[in-house]
Symmetry: C3
Subunit: 323 residues, 3 copies
């Protein structure tokens, strides 16, 4: 149902809100399009005129300079004009003020909203109320989804591992609260990864997590055994109740990624992290900066993947406007 919202009548992607329910072909199309942009980072002139004359609004109800910057750079490389907004989320009932903000922006003939909000479902709510020619990209909504992050992770995995069909992937950390984990799991499943593990203390695992198509582990050493990819999550202490983990030191001992734990994975295993990393909390510096780490590749790929998603959701815009 939500996935249906993401496609227009001709089957083209018009919003990018969640990985859940997207077709395998859609994800591959995003990755392939990103591949065509990835060389631009190396070229002298990096701009392409694909979104020239378009206005992209970074609508960040939750502040995140880092994520906002990646979308701003991606949009400018596509030659779009960019407006950065950090509206306060007024505490009116029924989210009306958010929709009034959005209606005003669309009345200004802006074209693409990149929405970030601390509340799950914000991007969906907005997508339900915009006219056909306005596209919405979810840049993270509460605990729900962070689909562009998941796609850049998939891009990075494909870059090194070529084929998703024979991989064993472990996601480590606060699975319970992580919108990143949720989007990664959907993407890995759709792209055909046969074995996805989640590793966390019991208090940070959702109940019945197996339903998501993953295998839970509470013992990190067992969970990392022979995996091809280790996807660390950021420990967001501010989102946790104090009782969920005993202490930072104990957490690091049990679930922090250290060199000896990496050694349990396959010799050519990738170490990934969405950033910003908490050195010494969920990952040791030696690992973050070590030979398995592709953390900075993820950052580089994040620009290309966001360019790709922006270009794709805007691709059908003119036809929708005409109809």
């Amino acid at each position: 149902m939500i996935a249906d919202m993401q496609y227009d009548q001709s089957g083209q992607l018009r919003h990018f809100l969640t990985i859940e329910g997207l077709a395998w072909e859609t994800l591959v199309h995003i990755l392939d399009t990103a591949q065509s942009f990835i060389t631009f980072g190396e070229r002298e002139i990096k701009k392409v005129p694909i979104l020239r004359g378009k206005t992209v609004v970074n609508l960040f109800f939750e502040n995140s300079t880092r994520t906002r910057t990646t979308f701003e750079i991606a949009a400018k490389r596509l030659s779009a004009d960019v407006i950065n907004l950090n509206p306060s989320r007024l505490s009116t009932s029924k989210g009306e003020s958010v929709l009034d903000t959005v209606k005003n922006l669309e009345a200004m003939h802006t074209d693409l909203f990149v929405v970030r909000d601390a509340h799950s479902g914000a991007a969906f709510l907005i997508a339900q109320h915009v006219p056909p020619h306005v596209a919405i990209i979810n840049a993270g909504d509460g605990r729900h989804a962070h689909p562009t992050q998941a796609m850049l992770d998939m891009f990075t995995i494909r870059q090194y591992k070529k084929d998703f069909g024979n991989l064993r992937v472990a996601i480590v950390g606060d699975i319970l609260h992580s919108r990143v984990a949720r989007s990664q799991i959907h993407a890995l499943n759709i792209l055909g990864v046969p074995e996805v593990r989640v590793i966390a203390p019991k208090t940070l695992l959702p109940t019945e997590v197996e339903r998501l198509g993953v295998q839970p582990y509470t013992d990190m050493r067992k969970g990392l055994k022979d995996v091809d990819v280790i996807m660390m999550l950021r420990l967001q202490l501010e989102r946790m109740q104090g009782t969920l983990i005993a202490s930072e030191q104990e957490y690091f001992n049990l679930y922090g990624l250290t060199e000896d734990k990496v050694a349990l994975a396959k010799p050519d295993a990738l170490v990934m992290h969405p950033g910003p990393i908490n050195r010494g909390l969920e990952i040791a510096s030696e690992v973050a900066d070590g030979p398995h780490s592709v953390i900075l590749d993820q950052v580089t790929n994040g620009i290309a993947v966001r360019m790709s998603i922006m270009a794709i959701v805007m691709g059908g815009q003119s036809e929708r406007k005409a109809s």
Copy 2:
């Protein structure tokens, strides 16, 4: 005198500070030029190169993300570079620090300042001190004027009513403190609207308001009778002393715009509001979103009207520089 400041020696508009004292021809020229931009919102490539190579500075001593965004979008659609500044208004005597800020910006060869300030007269003070090739647009100064808002209102009225010559217009709300109302009244008078009414509790009406060329009403039901246009003002509680209105509920009962009150106006009456609307305070949601409302048209037109005013005040720039 102030109006004189707005024209250069050849009679071209060089600043846009207040509607008061402008010629009928000037207002019509602004509306006609805006009309030429209004289609751009619908086209694929929305940018025009009119201000290419120019630097527009949004100089907002008073914070207003909403208004700033409209000027930023308008300037970028004209291909200008935009610098957003929110300088704190240092409490030095004689406004010297403001003028030092302005002198510095003009020394950087910036071309157009969009000035917003909580103090009446700020844009004038600045306009008195800039060299001939720098243009000033007043984006709202204290209780004094908000002329671009009034012009987008006029544009919206003309869009629907074609002719100003036989209209009855009512402005409703805090007339006493409203820079918007002041600018609207001047514009309506210059454009030849034969009957302009202002509707407010006595405490929110200026003394001798008739001198402005309007008819005051304290009974909203009488004031709305047979009008063609209802222009609501925003109730800015933060600018009022607590004693000016009895309570929000009582205010809404007496002066809030509800469907039954709209029914007193002409059947094709327009409902306007400068935004952001306080739903349930000065306007009922059913009216704001109802068939008479042109509130979102105002937002759309605001971009075109601001593009128009920017293009016009910059139009004579090169000649003034040469002289």
Copy 3:
């Protein structure tokens, strides 16, 4: 050693961190290149495509709207895309978080970082860790250096005095804490100014200041005698301990620049100030706005000089990337 870091293997300037140790030819090249841009401020179309497709990041750990704006305008006039960041300087040990921020930005294939920080050495630390194709410009680091300010000062002096070889220059104010003074002294020495004086109360003079190649004066009237250029510093009360100066009034009496003190200098002496000026504290308004003042020329020249430095450090970028 630090100067070596600023040149690449072929002897081209690749970072601009400090004046100290730069070659005379480099400074003259910067001034000459700035001269080629200075006319652009007068032309209709001010943009040049030199940095088209490049991304400039204003990385301001210390907030300075004024300086940031000059770099933003300069970068946009070179057609670069500009990202403004004000990251908080996290209090982690070893500056690791700053370097993680920088590594992330360079992974996004940004090209030029303009770095401002309250800590001396920040720009150096960053320059030591970036790959060959990323350039760093120091926009002020603690008490250490503010080299772009010094270069715009040199440009302004040359504009009026043509030749550095026969000048007597006095720098007045808080020499002890001033990064501006330090950079000015290096630049004046390298460009061959035969006599550089520093004027300050003893408490605001570094010990053994003569080693920098300057002559110290505590009596301003003696120090200004027959000088060609008076370079005032900004009195930054927030950086001083209360005991360093007795009172603002006494400071102004002894070291504030007044018309009668200017009269001690040569008749065609220049009065300079890096801004923003504290009127009546270190400089009288009559002097700041008077016939000797070139303070607003400095602002204008600051854009051209920053364009020059940006263009030069990016000039060798493609070769370094290829190698």
